[in-house]
């Protein structure tokens, strides 16, 4: 606990220090990075005791109302999220330093740094708060600091709009949370999480709490169809902030849900299927929308929705397992969901950082203007490849481990549940398989269009790899991906401990092992794969040693002047899949009519329309706007009008209170 408190102290102090030392840029950047490194180390130390066992540590200070008590507490769930936050914010912070340092000299990044540190404080408090008031205060502060980080490029109109949308969306969510917490506090007679956890709620109330929590935290986490702020916010923010948003901010929604599940304990039976439904819909539609995007950060933003879907599928199976008292399902489900929280944070942050590096080098985010960048940006390219492999859940990297656990929970569900449960598990299984296939297609598209083939842009000069301040954080995250992928024992164990903690299951000795052991066996197979691959490479080199290395142009079936423009673009790559799923996604193609006798320039334009955004929230917005315009008649700003209102009010009061009878 001391480690954790001192890390909070360091963050706050250095945040203010940077604010006051604003003029000394170099010094501030140094303070910023030092603070980040120190804090991650301290957080790691404070999370360490929770790896094996479910102990806990509390810290309480009496405080004037409404807080009554400032209570922070560490338990396995908090420790897990603290660790995630520390990893990601370290990498994206250092990257941000490199990113902002060279970029524009006019804008002073120091305020940005200090908001970054304050955001970290609020994130830390969110995941450790043990009291409703403290939690909500930190939650709101987090939203605010994140808003300021997001609107770094506030000179652009689109950025300001995205920031506004983000604020509105998350506040709608917070409204639901407030209602939920007030009702819960009222029912429990206390605003303390621990006492809330001891209270027994009626099933109806539990259902209401859960539904409110689902909306409130769902907006933050980006559940479909509450995700609308995500695809705007990510491209608007600087890349490292997008990484932070996607890696951590949306995960606080998941943390909140898990905390609610932990507090409520007996979740009604309908919640599991509801979560599975949300997960499947978010996952499949998220990845389909992502396939239709050709702006790299928007694409990644939709992938966050997909991965949240996978996490929610895991939680849904966990709920189902708890409801049916099947320990193996609950363990694998929650364990998979939690590990995927960490894994997604790592590889998504990695992808956003490498996307930032690409944008920095090329000056654009449109992937159809890129191509062949692996030769110019070897570090960025390979880190992006590692991230892509991980996000597709392919073996050897961390995504595979957590997706494996989620898959495992489905298979356990098919084994142990009744027919209704099997139907749910099979549906989720098929949707996860579909998500996996589509994600692979999407990242095959993204990686190959950006990094492989010829360059599509008309630009002549070569691209430059970015400085080490930007590549090192990526290397750190990529190393984590590989480490968890190849040696998953520690973290799988940690997430299973956590799953046990959330569900409060009494486990027999072998039960965690039964989930963990197959993963280790699978890893043995993967090591064998690496050995075979190694030998094969040697053999191939042996075969080719005598032959001169033939180099030529790509064979284009007899055509002698292929140009980069002839390559498959991102839009054409995604087209068959989007046509296949035309009934689910709103896919618009605007072809040009080719009715001319002579060659003319023709354009074809296709895009995927975000249905909830366009057909649900925009109409609501339009109605709200009309209503506000109408309301303007009464709020015109003319003083005589307000005087008139006062006069009417006075007359009304007079008439009401006038002693008629007397």
């Amino acid at each position: 606990m001391t480690f954790f408190l001192s890390s909070l102290g360091i963050l706050a102090v250095s945040g203010f220090l940077i604010l006051f030392l604003g003029r000394y840029r170099e010094l501030c950047a140094r303070i910023f990075t030092t603070a980040l490194i120190a804090v991650s180390g301290l957080v790691f130390l404070s999370a360490l005791p929770f790896f094996g066992t479910a102990n806990r540590a509390d810290f309480r200070i009496p405080c004037p109302p409404p807080f009554n008590e400032l209570s922070l507490g560490l338990d396995p769930l908090s420790a897990f999220f603290l660790l995630t936050i520390a990893c990601v914010s370290l990498a994206s912070g250092v990257f941000g330093c490199g990113y902002l340092n060279g970029q524009n000299t006019k804008k002073n990044p120091n305020v940005h740094y200090s908001f970054y540190l304050f955001l970290m404080v609020s994130l830390f408090v969110v995941v450790t708060a043990k009291n409703v008031f403290l939690f909500l205060t930190a939650w709101e502060l987090m939203t605010f600091f994140a808003y300021f980080l997001l609107t770094f490029y506030d000179e652009k109109k689109s950025v300001r709009e995205a920031g506004g949308l983000y604020l509105i969306a998350t506040h709608c969510g917070t409204f639901c949370l407030m209602v939920m917490f007030i009702l819960m506090g009222y029912a429990a007679g206390s605003m303390d999480f621990d006492r809330m956890a001891l209270t027994h709620y009626s099933p109806l109330m539990t259902g209401v709490f859960f539904a409110l929590g689902l909306i409130g935290f769902g907006v933050k986490a980006g559940f479909f169809p509450l995700h609308i702020w995500l695809p705007y916010a990510h491209p608007a923010a600087p890349s490292h902030i997008s990484g932070l948003f996607s890696g951590i901010m949306i995960k606080t929604g998941i943390y909140g849900l898990l905390r609610i599940i932990f507090i409520l304990k007996d979740i009604p039976e309908w919640c599991g299927p509801a979560m599975l439904g949300i997960g499947a819909v978010s996952g499949v539609l998220g990845v389909l929308y992502a396939l239709g995007q050709h702006e790299i950060k928007r694409l990644l933003a939709y992938h966050s929705i997909e991965n949240i879907g996978i996490i929610v599928l895991g939680i849904g199976m966990g709920l189902l397992g708890s409801a049916y008292h099947q320990k193996s399902i609950a363990l694998a489900g929650y364990g998979g969901a939690l590990l995927h929280v960490l894994n997604h944070a790592i590889f998504k942050c990695l992808l956003f950082l490498s996307a930032g590096s690409v944008i920095r080098s090329t000056g654009t985010g449109e992937i159809d203007e890129m191509g062949g960048l692996l030769k110019y940006l070897p570090f960025t390219g390979h880190f992006f490849l590692i991230g892509s492999l991980a996000i597709c859940g392919l073996p050897l990297l961390n995504g595979f481990v957590s997706e494996w656990l989620v898959y495992r929970s489905f298979f356990e569900g098919i084994l142990h549940l009744n027919k209704w449960g099997i139907t749910l598990a099979v549906t989720s299984l098929v949707s996860l398989a579909l998500i996996g296939g589509l994600a692979a297609a999407c990242f095959a598209k993204a990686f190959s269009v950006i990094f492989l083939g010829h360059n599509r842009s008309p630009r002549q000069e070569a691209y430059k790899e970015n400085p080490w301040m930007m590549t090192c954080p990526m290397a750190f995250l990529a190393a984590l991906c590989v480490w968890i992928g190849l040696f998953p024992k520690t973290l799988v164990g940690f997430s299973l401990t956590n799953a046990q903690f959330i569900t409060a299951l009494e486990l027999a000795p072998g039960e965690t092992g039964a989930i963990l052991q197959p993963i280790l066996s699978a890893n043995k197979v993967l090591f064998l794969f690496l050995v075979v691959l190694g030998f094969l490479t040697l053999y191939r080199n042996f075969l080719l040693r005598r032959h001169p290395r033939g180099l030529s142009e790509t064979w284009s079936c007899g055509y002698s002047w292929p140009s980069p423009r002839m390559q498959y673009s991102a839009a054409s790559f995604a087209d068959p899949i989007l046509r296949l799923f035309k009934s689910v996604v709103h896919f618009e193609v605007h072809p040009a009519r080719a009715g001319h006798y002579f060659p003319v320039r023709l354009d074809l334009f296709s895009k995927v329309v975000d249905v909830p955004d366009r057909f649900i929230f925009r109409p609501i917005y339009v109605i709200l706007r009309k209503f506000s315009k109408w309301m303007l008649k009464f709020q015109s700003g003319h003083i005589p009008q307000y005087l008139f209102y006062i006069f009417i009010a006075l007359v009304a009061l007079l008439l009401w209170k006038f002693p008629w009878r007397a």
Binding site: L415, S448, Q517, K524, V525, L543
Partner: protein, 307 residues
């Protein structure tokens, strides 16, 4: 711990026997066409010839182009360790190995797609895009098949899922078995790019999928691609064959012989299908795969209602 002998035996069977299967398919097709056809061992000749040649690489390509054939070869070979082949038990079995099996195939496919895109050729891009589209569907159908097998066998390890279905359960669950066999057979054709989905005999139709992705590979790299294709057919076919032959002996040699005979039978069946059918129009292919998905779904429903 893993025993070494079964692993080596498995590798040997896959590596030595798999090209023969394609020879049998070729011969069957030639027979139906009234031709003599290439010799049964044609793929062995092709591979040994290609191995002796040098490779030519496009200047556009990166190491991914070179690595992809090796990755696919190694991935399908390792995937073969997870399945029982006839009487030969799987050298490695654990709960949920079925996920690893599917994802090893996905890894191979991912790298093949990247390699195709690496050349910067629009032909290969076309093939890559189609492969990505169809494999999403076939992967979902494959997992649905596995789910049905889990329901039928009450186990989540591939070995038991496949071998547990005994003959007496055929009486009760026969319809379910038949449905998933047909469904799986379709997936087998899709995954191995056979007619009616794809024509392995031609390269340059604009309607091709798999063959067009490997246009630029040459020499040993191309040998590994052909070889990986043969092993993949062998592995996926082995699952089907093992499901169908319930007979096992204690003798390893006898088991191997039975397996090879059964695989030859499967190759004949594929050859007959290829001779009797024309390739589907490209926009009909998804319906075909979805058909396999639906069959598996009915299989699951029957299994649930009778199990």
């Amino acid at each position: 711990m893993v025993e070494v002998f079964p692993v080596i035996l498995r590798f040997a069977v896959c590596v030595l026997f798999s090209p023969f299967i394609l020879g049998v398919i070729g011969k069957t097709k030639a027979f139906f066409a009234g031709k003599q056809g290439p010799p049964l061992l044609q793929l062995y000749y092709d591979i040994s010839k290609l191995i002796q040649k040098g490779s030519v690489y496009s200047r556009t390509t990166t190491w991914i182009f070179r690595a992809a054939p090796l990755v696919s070869w190694a991935a399908v070979l390792i995937a073969s360790l997870l399945i029982p082949l006839g009487g030969l038990k799987a050298p490695l079995q654990f709960a949920g190995d079925v996920i690893l099996f599917a994802y090893l195939l996905a890894l191979a496919r991912f790298f093949t797609i990247l390699a195709a895109m690496d050349t910067g050729s629009s032909f290969e891009g076309m093939g890559a895009s189609r492969e990505a589209a169809f494999s999403c569907l076939s992967e979902a159908a494959l997992f649905l098949n596995f789910a049905t097998l889990v329901v039928l066998s009450k186990s989540i390890s591939l070995s038991r899922m496949i071998t547990e279905c005994s003959w007496d359960s055929w009486v009760r669950l026969g319809p379910s078995f038949i449905l998933i066999i047909v469904s799986y057979f379709i997936i087998l054709l899709v995954e191995n790019a056979r007619i009616p989905i794809d024509d392995p005999a031609t390269h340059l139709e604009l309607t091709m999928i798999h063959e067009v992705m490997v246009l630029d590979h040459s020499g040993p790299d191309f040998a590994f691609i052909l070889y990986a294709g043969a092993i993949k057919l062998f592995v996926l076919g082995g699952v089907l064959v093992t499901f169908l032959i319930p007979f096992q002996s204690r003798n390893v040699v006898l088991n191997t012989v039975i397996l090879c005979a059964a695989m030859t039978g499967l190759a004949l069946a594929i050859g007959v299908v290829e001779s009797a059918m024309a390739r589907l129009r490209l926009n009909r292919v998804p319906s075909f795969i979805i058909g396999s998905f639906v069959l598996a779904l009915f299989g699951l429903i029957i299994a649930l209602s009778r199990a």
